[in-house]
């Protein structure tokens, strides 16, 4: 029995490695919670990042850590607003660190439940973690670092069955699947596209189509109640003020997008409707990628996230814009 299990699982692992699949960690609430616990590291040695998916791709953690000597803690969550995490850090009296907030306006200024659900779930998990769950995470981390097939997002049994591609009834909502090469996550929670994705325009088109699909969905969403932008600006100001009152610092960054995505975003949230009011309301400094020649013309292959090599360029530019207390160890 043992021999058969080892043969099948070992064969599967070898096959995946032969296909060029690389290690990717489960980018779930367990890994997020592990990083969330790091925000209490000394402020002079650590910079915390929150936001949506862009900063997960665009911040090259290795470059940041090498250039600044500081630990980068990545808490951004894909497809979601960073507001629940920002507000939680505002309420957390133990947090006095340096915080960089990535702004993707359509998500940042959204109060739609689907855009808040994941960070809220992550926070709830972090606060309720049991000793057994922490121990399981430690063991899981060791295994995930060794085996390519341990990739819940793309290699699970359900994913294998999903490849059967059985046609659905009309009207069933099916969220389109991202290609595996679009997102490989390392233990620091940095997301990277593979070289194959960067080279393969058909994969890029597939992701572009997903953005179009989501934008179409957004057009048909019920209009928000009240004025969410004003409410979010108010909440952001409160959270930032609380962090500052304890000696912490907050900096905003608008990460690059390009093509029709950038056009659509600027149409819905021109700078004077989102970015600038945010900096004014929170009395904060920020770095908009359009403001510097080094980043203004970066191209996102699927319109929304940078390639690994461009992430290095962006990270260097960001470091140059961040206040000294975010990038030095003194």
């Amino acid at each position: 029995m043992v021999i058969l299990v080892i043969a099948v699982i070992g064969g599967w692992e070898l096959y995946l490695r032969h296909r060029g699949v690389t290690i990717s960690y489960d980018n779930g609430k367990e890994l997020w919670s592990d990083k969330r616990a790091m925000v209490y590291e000394p402020p002079e040695k650590t910079t915390v990042f929150i936001g949506s998916s862009r900063i997960k791709y665009d911040l090259d953690i290795e470059t940041f850590q090498k250039m600044t000597g500081r630990h980068a803690v990545q808490l951004a969550v894909e497809g979601s607003s960073p507001m629940p995490v920002l507000e939680d850090l505002g309420e957390d009296t133990a947090f006095r660190g340096r915080l960089v907030v990535d702004v993707t306006e359509i998500l940042f200024f959204s109060m739609a439940p689907p855009n808040l659900e994941r960070p809220q779930t992550d926070l709830a998990w972090y606060k309720g973690r049991t000793p057994a769950q922490r121990a399981s995470f430690v063991l899981d981390r060791v295994l995930e670092s060794q085996f390519v097939f341990l990739d819940r997002d793309f290699m699970s049994l359900n994913d294998a069955i999903a490849n059967l591609k059985i046609p659905d009834r009309p009207g069933v909502f099916v969220f389109p699947a991202f290609p595996m090469d679009f997102n490989r996550t390392n233990f620091e929670r940095q997301s990277k596209m593979t070289d194959h994705f960067v080279a393969d325009t058909s994969l890029q088109h597939r992701v572009q189509n997903i953005w179009v699909f989501l934008m179409e969905m957004g057009k048909h969403a019920p209009p928000p109640k009240g004025d969410p932008v004003a409410m979010i600006l108010g909440n952001a100001k409160k959270a930032v003020d609380k962090i500052r009152a304890r000696g912490g610092e907050v900096f905003f960054t608008r990460t690059p997008s390009s093509g029709p995505m950038l056009g659509g975003e600027m149409h819905v949230f021109p700078r004077d409707k989102g970015w600038e009011p945010l900096l004014a309301a929170t009395r904060s400094k920020g770095f908009h990628f359009m403001d510097k020649p080094a980043t203004a013309h970066l191209i996102c292959p699927e319109w929304s996230h940078l390639t690994p090599s461009d992430a290095v360029l962006y990270t260097k530019a960001l470091i140059a814009q961040l206040p000294p207390s975010f990038v030095t160890t003194n």
């Binding site: 699982i9 489960d26 000793p131 057994a132 341990l150 009834r169 069933v172 909502f173």
Partner: protein, 512 residues
């Protein structure tokens, strides 16, 4: 900690090694007790104090109950134990529920009372270990078994990690004697234990979590009307999920204990192959149904005070059984519906029995809960070493082919009860039932074709197995198969378990 976690695998390996070292028996028992406390504390360490309190109080009260000659003092001691155990259960499990209902009541009477919501955390497994300790003190009061000799044995009986948080609910005579003599698993027991552990994890992780839970959640979390197909498939998904989840846990528990040389009672016996509802309750959560029978239904009077009292006792038992599952009226409705089914079944059985007596024919095939109460016996050890429940059906072999139809009808009606079990509100339950039976129209299709194929295949195979294996035991089946086939099936389960990559989600019954 949960069985489906890396922590448990590491923990269990350490326990297995320690248990097989050449150490004195007392040391091994202390090891098991410490391991059980670690197993429990891995959730929420402070709650271990409750477990200690319950253990120590019931050990000494139980002993005093047995030796105290004064009838009045014995009653006082019993009341102390009941208040202690049930009070703890009421506070932690039903505190918020009682307060909510009180507030609704006084508000309905025009009193403007809105207290702050209590933030009470439910200690894992409290319903299970409370029932375990309660049955000990009640047995001591009735002098139905002898007191446990040492606090160590009693603590281990209450805390033994395989059954601690979600059963099977064990009785002292089932487990305590096993602690009195040194034991380790034989090679065969170890293999059988590991097989059951793999099977239980396969049921939980692959079938319940990976294949069915998402569809059940999607349908039961829907706020509006659903197409009938989606409502039915979502319900079937939950029907499968609840079985694979809970039976999976019980199978893991029996397997883990067997690896250490201990035998726990069987908790499930192909319940969806049941013909009738008393048969269902002899197959579903067997240790709870027998506990309710022995410590609630019979003390209420059982079937000893006439037909109508029997009906009332039956319904009360099922309503309280429902409430035991959760602090929500929907669980009471679930129990009430089962009580109603048992009423109807009893009515027809009684009529059949009267006809049989008048014609001198052989009796009906279904023995009701009330009927089985009359013929209850002590738990027995089978030739294979498994402890069988006294309420297992005696005349199943008489079921003929038409039983297949009755089994399907039973399954259909059991499905209806699961709506109330899974839905968190009556509105939600009404929405699902209305959609299922075409009372509510409209709604967007939710389930993908793939999800429905998974549900259809799993439920069909489950029903076929439950029907054809209804009189079999898993280990006996595994022994009857050729070794290579057992090996392939076992390997398949482990491979799918590894590939499913489900995170260590809690078992549904932990919330009870």
């Amino acid at each position: 900690m949960v069985f489906n976690s890396y922590t448990f695998i590491a923990f269990f390996l350490i326990v297995l090694v320690l248990h097989n070292l050449p150490l004195p028996w007392k040391v091994k028992k202390i090891n098991l007790l410490v391991a059980s406390y670690i197993f429990y504390a891995a959730w929420n360490p402070p709650f271990i104090l409750l477990l200690w309190l319950s253990t120590v109080v019931d050990f000494f009260v139980g002993r005093a109950l047995y030796i105290q000659p004064n009838k009045h003092k014995r009653r006082v001691l019993l009341v102390v134990s009941l208040i202690g155990n049930l009070g703890m259960l009421c506070f932690f499990k039903y505190g918020g529920f009682i307060l909510d209902n009180f507030v609704h009541m006084v508000n309905a009477l025009g009193v403007n009372y809105h207290p702050a919501k209590p933030n009470i955390i439910l200690p894992a497994g409290i319903s299970f270990y409370t029932f375990t300790t309660l049955c000990y003190t009640i047995d001591m009061y009735k002098k139905e078994s002898r007191p446990v000799k040492t606090l160590l044995d009693f603590s281990l009986f209450v805390t033994f990690f395989p059954h601690l948080v979600a059963g099977p609910i064990v009785r002292p005579p089932q487990l305590v004697p096993q602690f009195e003599t040194p034991r380790t698993a034989s090679r065969r027991q170890l293999m059988e234990g590991l097989f059951l552990l793999s099977l239980g994890l396969f049921m939980k992780v692959v079938l319940a979590d990976s294949m069915l839970s998402a569809s059940a959640d999607t349908v039961f979390n829907a706020h509006g009307p659903l197409p009938a197909l989606d409502a039915w498939m979502g319900l079937l998904a939950f029907t499968g999920q609840i079985f694979f989840d809970f039976a999976g846990y019980s199978t893991c528990a029996v397997g883990a204990a067997l690896c250490l040389g201990f035998i726990l009672p069987q908790n499930f016996r192909w319940p969806y192959g049941a013909v009738g509802f008393s048969d269902f309750w002899r197959r579903w959560h067997i240790t709870l149904s027998s506990w309710l029978r022995d410590y609630l239904y019979i003390p209420l009077g059982g079937n000893r005070h006439g037909k109508w009292r029997t009906y009332i006792n039956l319904m009360l038992t099922m309503l309280l059984g429902g409430l035991w599952h959760g602090a929500n009226w929907t669980f009471v409705a679930w129990g009430g519906l089962h009580g109603f089914y048992l009423w109807v079944e009893k009515f027809f059985n009684d009529r059949k029995e009267r006809a049989r007596l008048s014609t001198g024919m052989e009796g009906g095939m279904v023995v009701s809960l009330s009927g089985s109460a009359a013929v209850m016996a002590k738990p027995m050890r089978s030739v294979t070493g498994e402890i069988s429940s006294p309420i297992l059906p005696a005349r199943l072999s008489s079921i003929n082919r038409s039983g297949w139809f009755y089994a399907l009808f039973t399954f259909f009606l059991v499905n209806i009860t699961w709506v109330f079990f899974r839905a968190s509100t009556f509105g939600g339950a009404g929405n699902i039932l209305g959609s299922m039976f075409g009372v509510v129209h409209g709604g967007t299709p939710l389930l993908t074709s793939l999800a429905m194929v998974k549900i259809g295949v799993i439920i069909a195979i489950m029903l076929i197995l439950h029907w054809f294996l209804r009189n079999s035991r898993v280990l006996e089946l595994a022994q009857r198969l050729p070794w290579w086939l057992t090996g392939i099936i076992w390997s398949g389960m482990v491979i799918l378990l590894i590939l499913s990559q489900e995170s260590s989600s809690s078992f549904i019954y932990f919330q009870f």
